[in-house]
Amino acid sequence: MTAILEIHDLRKSFGAVEALRGAELTCPAGEVTALVGDNGAGKSTLIRCITGVHPPDSGTIAFKAAPIHFTSPTEARAVGIETVYQDLALVEDLTVWQNMYLNRELKRGLGPFRWLDRRRMIEETQAKLSRLLVNMPPVRAKVRRLSGGQRQSISIGRAASWGSALVIMDEPTAALGLRERGAVETLIGNLRGEGIAQLVISHDLEQVMRISDSVWVMRAGRTIAHWRTQEVDRTRIVAAIAGGEV
């Protein structure tokens, strides 16, 4: 497996607080990489360093084998790193297809008379999402009318639909019911088949065992353990998170 993302010895301090003290991480293409750890272990800071929100103090981030130094999430997105935020970043009063193409609208016509190509955006949203989603909502519906699971699926589907090489998800199913969680996990499985690297932060270790290919544990700003998921069990992961013997 080719590694899409490779992080080595990443460090980041906020004043006196050392949020990252030498984090390591590898995300291979076509795999789901789980990132677990207690609150304050440094997971979110690590993600923000990858997506350009915080520049790291030292260490290297390599994306597709080339070192990167993003200064904003827009730069990260431009090379194919998409993040699904917990607040989903969907606009409720816009339709599914409008959200799908938000700030990437397809247009036709010339110069100042460039109109939206609504028909093509509607068709392509339908095509892209129906390939990935279990419970496909109507693409012309406003997001306000959709369930939490449908929204999360659209958010993830959108992130994965733009030639992205890496999709980062922060607690993708934390707010969802059992059946909706299943639909999102199926979506994550489908994306693996597309060859996309996925980095998932989750507190739900049952889920980590179900969906991930490898798991990294963070504690106090360091990645302290790393296994192939099939070679580890939940008890050992819990012990590592809690600070026991690895």
Partner: protein
């Protein structure tokens, strides 16, 4: 098909979404029964003429309200642009330059509003309230506090002329409203404005420059107020520097009647048009029925509140 129609009628959301249009039909029907003069083309045409300035102002207001803002400065920007227009024309600049001056002076106020709101992070209500005071004073100073006549054949034919049975006056207003509708439904810019109003964090996350969107809507708003000022001078035959408070209040009422949310994110331009027509129709019908004008604001107030209650049925 009949089934689908029936289902639409049973859906409370339909009544909420189309409150202004339904209100317009109901009020029109009531006035048609009460007076034979209401449903005649000359009266409808007069009604549309008197709605025209409000239509342009309500469309202007729509742009700021879509981003969750509000433009109180309209009440002063309108007379300010009218005074600049009158002074420029009477000063011998010629009609084309005077028109440009009017629209630019309105646009300038919009730009200042937008910069204060986006760059200095001042709440829309406060920023435009401040500009309401500032521009009221500026308009009074440059005009010496006096209204003055503006005589021009061009303005006369603008106010009175027509293409066949269609008067120029409301033709302009309707074109503006249709264009605004197309901007929101068929352009990327319109979508980005809606996104900025609907969920600013989400819009920013997707790389939309929300500050620039905010400035842009106030610039468009201001330019439209400049245009409305030209119509106002054409209709009244002069420039008056005093505050146009009732135009401000009815412009907001039209947008709210039309079903746009004051929290932003939803543009119902056709609803806004219907809203402006409802308010104008009420005044027109009352005049035909010779109801005392003291009752008119009461009726307008009740209609606005009734529409707000209806809009709670919205999906």
């Amino acid at each position: 098909m009949t089934n689908r129609f029936g289902a639409v009628l049973k859906d409370p959301g339909f009544w909420g979404d189309n409150a202004a249009l339904i209100g317009l039909v109901v009020i029109g029907a009531v006035f048609s029964v009460l007076t034979p003069f209401f449903l005649t083309w000359p009266n409808i045409s007069d009604l549309l003429v008197s709605a025209s300035i409000l239509l342009v102002l309500a469309t202007a207001q729509q742009f700021s309200i879509v981003t969750g803002g509000i433009d109180l400065s309209i009440a002063a920007n309108l007379p300010w642009a009218a005074v600049v227009f009158g002074l420029a024309y009477n000063g011998g600049l010629g009609m084309p330059l005077a028109i440009i001056a009017a629209i630019l002076s309105g646009t300038l106020v919009g730009l200042i509003n937008g910069l204060i709101i986006a760059k200095l992070k001042v709440n829309d209500f406060i920023a435009t309230l401040g500009m309401l005071g500032v521009m009221n004073g500026v308009a009074l100073i440059v005009s010496g506090g006096q209204s003055f006549a503006v005589n021009s054949h061009f303005l006369q034919s603008l106010a009175l002329g027509s293409i066949g049975p269609i008067r120029y006056f409301y033709l302009i207003a309707i074109l503006i409203a249709v264009e605004a509708h197309l901007v929101f439904t068929h352009t990327a810019f319109g979508t980005h404005v809606l996104a900025t109003g609907g969920n600013r964090d989400a819009a920013r996350n997707m790389g939309i420059p929300t500050d620039r969107m905010k400035i842009a809507v106030y610039v468009i708003d201001g330019a439209l107020v400049g245009l409305a000022a030209i119509l106002l001078v054409a209709r009244t035959g002069g420039s008056d520097p005093s505050l146009q408070t009732s135009q401000l209040l009815t412009s907001i009422a039209s947008v709210v009647l039309g079903g746009s949310s004051l929290f932003g994110g939803r543009a119902a331009v056709l609803g806004t048009v219907a809203g402006a027509l409802v308010l104008t129709t009420l005044l027109n019908g009352f005049t035909l029925l010779q109801v005392s004008e003291y009752y008119q604001p009461i009726a307008v107030g009740i209609v606005v509140i009734a529409a707000a209650v209806l809009s709670r049925l919205q999906k």
